[in-house]
Amino acid sequence: MSPRAIWTALMTIVVREVRRFTRIWPQTLLPPAVTMTLYFVIFGNLIGSRIGKMDGFDYMAFIVPGLIMMSVITSSYSNVVSSFFGIKFHRSIEELLVSPVPNYIILAGYVAGGMARGLGVGLIVTLVSLGFTDLSVQHPVLTVLTVALTSMLFSLGGFINAMLATKFDDISIVPTFILTPLTYLGGVFYSIHQLPEFWQSVSMINPILYMVNAFRFGILGVSDVNVGISLAMIVAFIVGLIVVCLRMLARGQGIRH
């Protein structure tokens, strides 16, 4: 395929993906806005006012970056896992497999779709949060870079989950039993400095901690961990997952007999 044809194929996948999640916006875009509003009201306003300051910030301001990141992670992951498993399930993946679209374009298209939804949801949650607190972004470039890379990382994770999944149960196991606990324990609602030393060390092996803190540093200027290490980890994970995805696609794992 010529570069122009490859670009057309990529945009076809991306447009199809964006059209898919915007068509079903009550299932994809609205729930995070409602859920995060509840978080802001209950944890930020009602409980947060009794907690006081966290790392020198009102509790509401402290949790906003983490909650934005949580919604970005969940939306990016679930978009790719449900969409790609969906086309596997009703076999329309064969439309792609018989076509000359290179594997890296299939991956790029689905990851771009996941990022579009993840970042779209992130923007919606950010706008909702402005109704509860003032946000002054300290490091805009770092903020955007961190959220974009994190969205990409979890889109890749969703892609792997979808390739391995053989039934609908398989696409909810990782979000329910791995992603959500890691996110909640990733410093969204607290600073790990408040934990006993042992649990601080345990928290350091949670990759989501680094993403939440890098993003919080971008917005508030404070972080529990080194931001450089955070970004390096995110990039390393992305590279690793891209290699895994492309190998799985080349083998046709879960998509070819």
């Binding site: 194929a9 076809t12 086309i87 009703h90 064969e94 439309e95 018989v98 046709g252 007999h257």
Partner: protein, 312 residues
């Protein structure tokens, strides 16, 4: 001239250990209308799946218009259009979107894709339903949608895996006409079907696959020549009380009052008619008792099954 499809020593063993293809060879010439027949589980869909990249082969070589699927897969795929046996599109998408999206996967820009989609949707009688969700189409319409989708990038080789399964006779005939026209315009067509009259009516060459092996690969004409006896049913103007004397021809009366006559290779129907005429018996109409290809197909598969010691 390069073959449209060339398969050499193709083998496929599934993870379960089942050997679906046992080293088959096949050639389909450019411009051919080719039938690949076989009983259920014979290896037809596995063969076509490998050609279309839906199934990984275990070993062997496949080239499509000279492009090896191991080393030049992208070009091979550009020449292929596939109509699968089962529905494989998103039922919630609009008809036009399904076809235009498929064109996009082949790198065709949206404007050009819409023109091509309109052309095939019109030809296949689906243009008026272009904005309907695919799930609202009838079974026959869904099959035609898959044909339009397979043609939108104008492939040189069209593979149809049982395209008329579950389609009513009228629609089946119109699809035959469409496919014949397409073939006349130069598109090579490979067809699998369970309707053997379909293969006989459309295809010039034929391969029969059974238990992962090609047991017959010849022209339709040569294959039909293998029939040593053909039975005809004659409708008579007056019912007969006993079988007329037809000398070398075996004949019998059916419960419906028709005369059934066996015509062997080398015999001719004119003799039958003249003998009946001599006896004052008038024939109103005539038809073959069973589909000729069907008879041969069953015989070949049964013979292969007996040789391999298995049952059908």
């Amino acid at each position: 001239m390069t073959d449209a499809l060339r398969i050499e020593n193709l083998r496929k063993t599934y993870g379960s250990g089942f050997e679906a293809l046992k080293g088959i060879d096949l050639q389909v010439r450019q411009g051919d209308f080719f039938a690949l027949l076989g009983p259920n589980g014979a290896g037809k869909s596995t063969t076509l799946g490998i050609v279309c990249s839906l199934v990984n082969k275990s070993s062997g070589k496949v080239t499509v218009f000279g492009h090896d699927i191991d080393t030049d897969l992208s070009r091979a795929k550009m020449t292929l259009g596939v109509v699968p046996q089962e529905m494989n599109f998103n039922q919630f998408e609009k008809v036009i979107d399904i076809v235009v999206t498929q064109a996009g996967y082949y790198g065709i820009p949206a404007k050009k894709a819409v023109v091509s989609a309109e052309r095939y949707l019109r030809q296949l009688g689906l243009w008026d339903r272009r904005n309907s969700p695919a799930r609202s189409l009838s079974g026959g319409m869904k099959r035609r949608l898959m044909i339009a989708r397979a043609l939108v990038h104008e492939p040189k080789l069209l593979i149809l895996d049982e395209p008329t399964a579950g389609v009513d006779i009228e629609l089946r005939r119109s699809m035959w006409t469409f496919l014949e026209d397409l073939n006349k315009q130069g598109t090579t067509i490979i067809l699998t079907t369970h309707y053997l009259e379909e293969a006989e009516a459309l295809c010039r060459n034929i391969a029969i696959i059974d238990k992962g092996e090609i047991i017959q690969d010849t022209s339709m004409r040569d294959l039909l020549k293998q029939l040593s006896v053909e039975s005809f049913l004659l409708d008579l103007s007056e019912p007969l009380s006993e079988v007329p004397e037809l000398e070398a021809f075996d004949s019998r009366l059916t419960a419906e009052g028709q005369l059934e006559v066996d015509v062997r290779k080398g015999q001719d129907l004119n003799t039958v008619f003249s003998k009946l005429d001599q006896q004052g018996i008038r024939v109103l109409s005539m038809r073959t008792k069973a589909n000729r290809l069907e008879e041969l197909f069953i015989r070949l598969v049964e013979s292969n099954s007996a040789q391999s010691g298995g049952a059908l």
